[in-house]
């Protein structure tokens, strides 16, 4: 099993930490992982993306150009990465602010209104966890038990009280994905 994923959106949406929690959850399941951010002179409001590879075996190249899954959280990311989904792969996107919907017919396309999930839970900070929940519903690569362990490892101890809220967002995201 090898899943090559790119998560792309605006800086501040929690793209990098979503990738980190996914990667940590996979480590808890004894998988190999790489987490490779686009780094540069980035800033809040600019674009941010992270490539996460999860595999049963040792991972060679951390740089890939085609992905099993593209998670696009704004129009720019959708425009840039829709064509990078492998045929038969998955495109998950947030429809908020999208004026041009995905057009490919050879891939599996799903959407998740993660803003609504976050609003329902009363915290914009769990937006990324709602998206993660949506992804895990479609691709249950890591068990919820290991996701919880991954969350505990990724969230600093002083914010440990936020784990239940994050977990709730993941579960709500699983329900919200269409």
């Amino acid at each position: 099993m090898k899943e090559e994923i790119i998560i792309a959106g605006f800086g501040g949406q929690g793209v990098l930490s979503m990738g980190k929690i996914l990667a940590y959850s996979a480590i808890m399941q004894d998988m190999e992982v790489t987490w490779m951010p686009s780094y540069g002179p980035e800033m809040r409001g600019g674009t941010a993306n992270v490539c996460v590879i999860l595999s049963d075996k040792k991972i060679g190249s951390p740089i890939v150009t085609k992905y099993d899954t593209v998670i696009a959280l704004n129009q720019q990311s959708l425009d840039k990465f829709e064509k990078a989904v492998k045929p038969g792969g998955l495109l998950l996107y947030d429809p908020n602010g999208i004026t041009r919907s995905p057009e490919r017919t050879d891939i599996e396309i799903h959407k998740i209104d993660a803003i609504e999930v976050a609003a329902k839970l009363g915290s914009s900070k769990v937006y990324n966890m709602a998206v993660l929940g949506g992804f895990l519903k479609l691709r249950p690569i890591v068990s919820m038990e290991n996701v919880e362990k991954g969350l505990a490892k990724s969230i600093p101890a002083r914010y440990g009280s936020l784990i239940p809220l994050n977990k709730a967002a993941i579960e709500e995201g699983m329900n919200a994905v269409e």
Partner: protein, 360 residues
């Protein structure tokens, strides 16, 4: 079971320094390796192991603080990125001349000048061939994963003290910024005063009545004495070249075409080899793990086995010169590189490989 942690290569450097009993880290922040000092500051090792962590006022100061600590037989290190390492080269040359052990981590970015902050391997020549002035060699080791970043600190200090020589961990922005699973080994305590005397009897630790003064210097005004010292260094380098070469191979055994790549490029070339093997082309990979000493003998041997080689580097072609020297004309040696912080993709390398070998 050892604890497995998801961390960046840069974080692995910092955690490894603490866990391997390093006495002091002196540095100055620069992208893409700032997480090294950030992690050290967050971990506060001065409260646990007693390790000193100090942000100097410049790279020149940091390397000279390393010189001072090393003179006392301490395990001391610094880290920086390309422009910062240029500033350190004078100090590194002085340490080579004074035969002082230290570990310098260089997380390369694109140059020349201030260049970019994106990954590059454009300082191969600088670090492998010297960097500072004078007839000297750094021992250069090139990590290709976050686990390597963790492991190479301990290995680096082992080599540095074994040979009383600076060791450079030559990494790049990808290896520094990427997060991977890192397995932590048991903690090693810092050396006690007695252990320092044993590991570094040459160190300036205070003169007892029982021995002569220990002198640490790189200055010698007498030509004959300096030449004798240069020859002594040469003997040391000969032993290093004979005994410390390290490399890894991927499907090189029956290869008809060989890629040579270090650091992050070697990871990318693994995918290239897989792709070509899938098409029935017998490709293989040699990854030099030590860049100095260079795996010359193994590359020479493979030069007689393969139809051609391709050196793949994030620069304009630096290591390729050492590959060509090693094969000494026994097969064609091609080169493919990207610069400026751009990174090649496996598909791109496959295309260039086919073009170079008339297989397109």
């Amino acid at each position: 079971m050892a604890e497995k942690i998801l961390m960046k290569g840069n974080e692995a450097i910092a955690i490894s320094a603490i866990r391997n009993g390093v006495d002091g880290y002196f540095g100055y922040p620069i992208t893409p390796q700032s997480e090294v000092m950030e992690t050290l500051m967050k971990e506060k090792p001065w409260e646990t192991t007693g390790m000193v962590v100090l942000q100097a006022e410049s790279e020149t100061s940091s390397i000279n603080m390393v010189y001072g600590g090393a003179s006392c037989g301490k395990k001391v290190m610094t880290s920086s990125s390309s422009p910062g390492v240029s500033l350190m080269c004078e100090g590194i040359s002085y340490m080579a001349g004074a035969e002082l052990p230290c570990v310098v981590v260089d997380v390369m970015r694109g140059g020349p000048g201030l260049g970019t902050i994106q990954p590059s391997q454009s300082d191969y020549n600088q670090i492998v061939k010297g960097g500072g002035h004078g007839d000297y060699h750094n021992i250069v080791i090139a990590p290709a994963s976050a686990q390597d970043m963790y492991d190479f600190i301990d290995w680096g200090f082992e080599l540095a003290f074994k040979y009383r020589n600076p060791v450079v961990v030559l990494a790049d922005g990808i290896i520094g910024q990427m997060m991977e699973k890192v397995e932590l080994h048991p903690m090693k305590p810092r050396r006690t005063a007695e252990e320092i005397l044993e590991a570094a009897p040459w160190a300036t630790t205070g003169k007892p009545a029982t021995r002569e003064r220990n002198i640490i210097t790189s200055l010698s005004l007498d030509a004959d004495i300096q030449e004798k010292f240069n020859r002594k260094l040469k003997n040391k380098y000969d032993i290093i070249e004979e005994t410390e070469v390290k490399f890894s191979e991927y499907l090189a055994g029956d290869a008809e075409y060989l890629f040579v790549a270090f650091g992050c490029s070697s990871r990318i070339c693994e995918a290239v080899v897989d792709e070509l093997r899938g098409e029935g082309i017998k490709a293989g990979l040699l990854r030099p793990i030590t860049l100095y000493p260079f795996p010359t003998k193994e590359i020479a041997r493979l030069g007689k086995q393969v139809k051609s080689m391709m050196s793949v580097e994030l620069n304009l072609g630096q290591m390729v010169e050492d590959v060509r020297l090693a094969v000494a004309g026994s097969c064609p040696v091609h080169f493919y590189g990207r610069q400026g912080g751009n990174i090649f993709t496996p598909e791109e390398i496959v295309g260039e490989f086919k073009k170079a070998n008339g297989l397109a």
